[in-house]
Amino acid sequence: MSLKHVNAVVVGAGAAGGVVAKELAQAGLSVVLLERGPWPSTFECRKDDLRNQRTSVLGHPFGPDDERNPRVIVDGAGKASLVRPSEGGYQNNAACVGSGTVSYGAMGWRYMEQDFKMRSTYGAVPGSTLEDWPIGYQDLEPYYEKAEWEIGVSGDVSPDPFKAPRKKGLLMPPLPANRECEILRAAARRLGWHPFDVPMLRNSVPYNGRQACMRCRWCIGHACEVNAKNGTHNTVIPRALATGNCEIRVNCHAGEILTDSGGRARGVAYYDERDRLLQQTADMVIVSCAAIESARLLLLSKSKMHPQGLGNRYDWVGRNLQGHSYPRVAGLFEQEIYDDLGPCAGIALCDFAHGNKGLAGGAMMTNEFLRSPYQFVGKTPPWVPRWGPEHKRFMRDAYRRHISVGGPVEEMPMWDSRVQLDPQVKDYWGIPVARISGNKHPHVVEVAKFIVSKCEIWLKEAGATRTWASVPGTAGASGGQHQAGTCRMGDDPKTSVVNRYCQVHDVDNLFVIDGSVHPTNGCFNPAMTIMAVAYYAADHIVKNWKGARSRS
């Protein structure tokens, strides 16, 4: 069964897909936006420390559904196992309108200039496919600005001397600091570092018709109870729909990008919520399913002209899967820290993001988001037993007196860290699932250890009596909510999947627009960059659109 032809079909209503749908619809193109999940509902906004996108021991409210969407994960030792979305290692990203932007912590970072030219800044790193982006920070600057204003960002980055040049300051002021932020800010200043208020995709004052943050600390893993957190579900997607040019179809599961005999994209085949197989034809197809599912969809779309899948002529689709490696240090204080007040992560510094001697890259450092009691259970120090009276007493003594800091270490892309189609396992719809394998680069651990040393200095200066660290190892592929890299952007079709405008090299009406295109993933949370790239790529599409436009 086929449906009315449109100008563009966008697969995935997350950070990127929402932006692209809105930009195209506003420019007068007819758009169908397909989303595998439902609209998030207020019922799912409840705070539950065992059932959320971050701690999903009892499942997760924003999907994807555990029964229908398995993956095969190959661990560091080469053992493959079937993993459900709420289980560890799945590398999950929410399946709902807005996707991760509903349940993220909502840091709204711009990458630094060096993040776009890692290779030319640090040179080749043996064992890594490290490469520069074909575009630079200055190409994205206007689009970062647009994202900040259309989605909405609060904070104050003006004290950060390392930030890339920006035309405007942040839109909304930061929230008042809580006790933890004040302690850390003062300590960092005493050390001669440059702390500042984290840019957050969150209203600190009423904006866009929605209220200000109520400072509850529960951003991460949860939806905002008062709708003060900004994602694509409550900003650009409603605006896209309001143009009358965009139709969103939820609970629709894309299975293949259809091509014509000439190899060009002609639409998407998908299962709707009643499991009917439908075909939506379009002048162009935009894939915005995040790094793992975007790669999977391209690989699934095999045809005579594209026998290895779309964009995969040179075997680059699905490779270089990255996320971030997160070292963390916790410190125990004599005084009480806990004041039950947001912002949770609120203070950051970029003194060790780049330019660390002998190291390629670094990390932005910030305090940790909400630590629920159950999360703290697993993060007790090595000198405390894992159970029994001593553990119980430590929980009581330490919970209100600890601070945890850390940061996302920029990863070195790895050729063998990849997404493939599993030869055996299929999902509910009978479609081969993603098989994720590979390991992280050892240099990432070195950088993480360096960041740990700085976190320890920070916490000790702040008054911590004891500290304990956790450093992730190299085993297993990375990804998670920060997943990126699987459809690399580049000028050379032989060493990348899309060109500098996110256009698949050999299919001119097929675009991949999401974190997949990042050659490297910055030392920051990537959501804002994904949005900025989406504005940038959509602008290119609109400027080059020669077809008809409907009035909006």
Binding site: D48, L58, C216, V226, D340, P389, R396
Partner: protein, 177 residues
């Protein structure tokens, strides 16, 4: 919100089990058991284990806080896939207890129980890791799932029950309390 603990629903499930039309939800316990999944003996062994993992001190232990209830409810819910692990794991704990001390785990002294648990931890017994994680979830996680009775896990840390602030008017934007 506490739908899972609705006595009417329980009666229905028991009736369904008795009538032999049990769906996957009620492949449950023998009729003399107070639990959904566990037999009475399993419940007792599980409770004894949980109560050593989080023993009573100034604050009640895991048993009082509803650890067994949490695990039992969740074994009929999201943790369904661990059913077999519990059936075998609890039997193995009792077996080890009987062969070493001549009686079931629940009848041992606290010291003897700790000895067995430490041995299981040292041997990296996956069932030990499982019941440890679930006990911690029951004590320190949201009470709506069957554990953390009266919010004792939260109260022992000095924090309030999870607030539902979005439904009442709060202005907390002015600064710290």
């Amino acid at each position: 919100m506490r739908k899972v603990w609705n006595p009417k629903r329980r009666r229905f499930l028991e009736a369904a089990a008795g009538a032999g039309v049990a769906g996957p939800l009620v492949s449950c316990s023998a009729s003399n058991s107070p639990w959904r999944y566990f037999t009475a003996e399993e419940g007792e062994t599980a409770g004894a284990i949980c109560d050593r993992l989080i023993p009573a001190d100034e604050f009640p232990g895991a048993l009082w806080a509803g650890a067994v209830r949490y695990i039992d409810i969740q074994l009929c819910g999201h943790l369904r896939k661990h059913r077999e692990a519990y059936r075998l794991g609890l039997a193995a704990v009792d077996q080890a207890s009987r062969s070493q001390y001549g009686k079931g785990f629940a009848a041992l002294s606290a010291e003897q129980q700790d000895q067995l648990l430490k041995a299981a931890e040292k041997a990296k017994d996956p069932f030990f890791a499982l019941i440890l994680a679930h006990t911690m979830q029951s004590y320190y996680g949201d009470p709506r799932h069957g554990g953390n009775r009266d919010g004792i896990g939260y109260r022992s840390l000095g924090i309030p029950l999870t607030p539902v602030r979005g439904r009442s008017k709060h202005d907390l934007t002015g600064g710290t309390k």
